[in-house]
């Protein structure tokens, strides 16, 4: 890890101003940044610490919204009774992420900004293979290499990485909005469009491998606002190769409102299948008015998976993601 200059921000304005110019990075929990610096993924000259900023670690419930500050830790969120009641999928996603130790450091602000776990990307410098995220123009070793953990939606030949955050999937399912601050003041970004797939980045005229979020380089996340709907229940299903402390092969967050056995509304987001949480709007629309049953869900979600473009080694993700989505909807609806 290279040396850097360090400063503690005294307020949000100062933190944002510290990001002006290039070569600056924010540290909060540090669980990602320190590893980026060790691997050479990031090499900031200046690191501004926002860990001491007042008022950014709170959780508040008011009429219509649950607000979660960027500095709230994953353990704090996961065990907060208000989050458990009104945003169950988020509480579960937080506690299914990482380990107890990491969750005490990791903040929800930084969590959604974590980078892919692609093994070609997460290698120490000098990189022994191609990676367009690390060395633009070098290619994507995963495209025709070992890609069992990679994307089935939204990828391009430039990059086939997935976004690994669990909480981001729950936040996207729950229609959360992200409040951010930057040099031009504050703005809001819907969680569903906070991250971009490689295809979306290319369509926006940006580098498909490196343009991963709509957060500007001089912006920081302040909080998330989750609309609270009294009848909605949500759940998160994470499928992984070991029982705990592992990234998802696939995951699914679902929220449902029921009238007896009839689905009034449904929300489904898949994780670890694309470089952003992957909502299933077609299936969600189709599910409204249907009876909550496994067979109905399987047929409708199956149809929504027809757009999947699996790579050589990750065809298993298509049925696994379908099944995870079905399980998540059933769990959210109180069925097992």
């Amino acid at each position: 890890m290279r040396d850097f200059s360090y400063a503690r921000a005294s307020d949000v304005h100062q933190a944002v101003s510290a990001l002006s110019g290039s070569g600056a990075a924010i540290i909060a929990g540090g669980t990602e940044l320190l590893n980026w610096m060790r691997l050479g993924i990031a090499a900031p000259d200046r690191v501004v610490d926002i860990g001491g900023l007042d008022g950014l670690d709170g959780i508040a419930l008011d009429t219509g919204h649950l607000t979660i500050g960027a500095l709230a830790s994953l353990n704090t969120i996961g065990e907060d009774p208000r989050v458990v009641e009104h945003a169950g999928a988020l509480a579960q996603a937080c506690l299914l992420a990482a380990s107890a130790q990491v969750r005490n450091r990791a903040t929800i602000g930084g969590n959604v900004l974590q980078k892919t776990r692609c093994a070609y990307f997460r290698a120490e410098e000098p990189l022994p293979w191609a990676c367009n995220k690390r060395a633009p123009g070098s290619g994507c070793a995963a495209r025709d290499g070992i890609n069992e953990r990679h994307a089935i939606f939204g990828w391009t030949d430039a990059c086939v990485a997935v976004q690994p955050s669990d909480p981001a999937v729950a936040l996207a399912c729950l229609d959360a909005e992200v409040d951010v601050a930057g040099p031009q003041g504050r703005r809001t970004i819907p969680m569903t469009s906070f991250h971009l797939t490689q295809e979306e980045a290319a369509a926006a005229g940006e580098d498909p491998a490196r343009y991963e979020t709509r957060l500007g380089p001089e912006e920081m996340i302040l909080s998330y606002r989750i609309p609270v709907r009294p009848g909605r229940r949500s759940a998160y299903v994470k499928v992984r190769e070991r029982a705990s402390y592992e990234y998802a092969l696939v995951s699914a967050a679902a929220g449902v409102e029921l009238d007896e056995d009839t689905i009034v509304s449904a929300r489904i987001a898949l994780g670890a299948v694309a470089q952003r949480p992957w909502r299933l709007p077609g299936a969600e629309a189709e599910l409204a008015g249907k009876t909550l049953s496994k067979d109905t869900l399987l047929a409708i979600v199956e149809a929504a998976m027809r757009d999947a473009r699996p790579l050589a080694h990750n065809g298993y993700k298509v049925p696994m993601a379908r099944n995870a989505a079905v399980r998540a909807v059933l769990l959210a609806g109180g069925r097992s």
Binding site: A9, Q14, S17, A18, G30, M37, V48, D49, Q101
Partner: protein, 181 residues
Amino acid sequence: MSDSASTDATPTGGGAPAPSWSRTMSVSFRLNGKERAATVAPRVTLLDWLREEAGLTGIKKGCNEGACGTCTVLVDGKRMNGCLTLVVQCDGRDVTTVEGIAGEDGTLHPVQRAFIDHDAFQCGYCTPGQIVSAVACIAEGHATDEATVREWMSGNLCRCSCYPQITEAVLDAAARMGPHT
């Protein structure tokens, strides 16, 4: 804390007061109950500082990336990975390592006693991290049953695979310590 040594001038935007950039930081915190002061480069992790500057070698550098838990310490009572924590982030905080777990007279902590009684280690490399993590696991109220202990202790790997004994030790220590309120 106070800033010291070399300070960079850095451009700032708008009317915000410039943050004070430093290449060296003076930090003070409580370490195992005693006040400590340190002057460090900002990149120094709590793990490296504890081992190399404070001489506390209970904490281990297993993976140095937050994957193994051998560097688990308590910061303000919460378990954290020392490899993912900078010393500068500990200013004003209370840090406890495995060396601070036992009583001042050397009486073992119930968790330490339970690890011995249940033979909850082979090589011992992960043990300091396991013990610190278990102390927190019990304090959090997560030492309720085998499945819950396994889930909440999953951040501490044991390559000798003493997990059954570790789980027993944590549950036994929790029972000996009485109901946590």
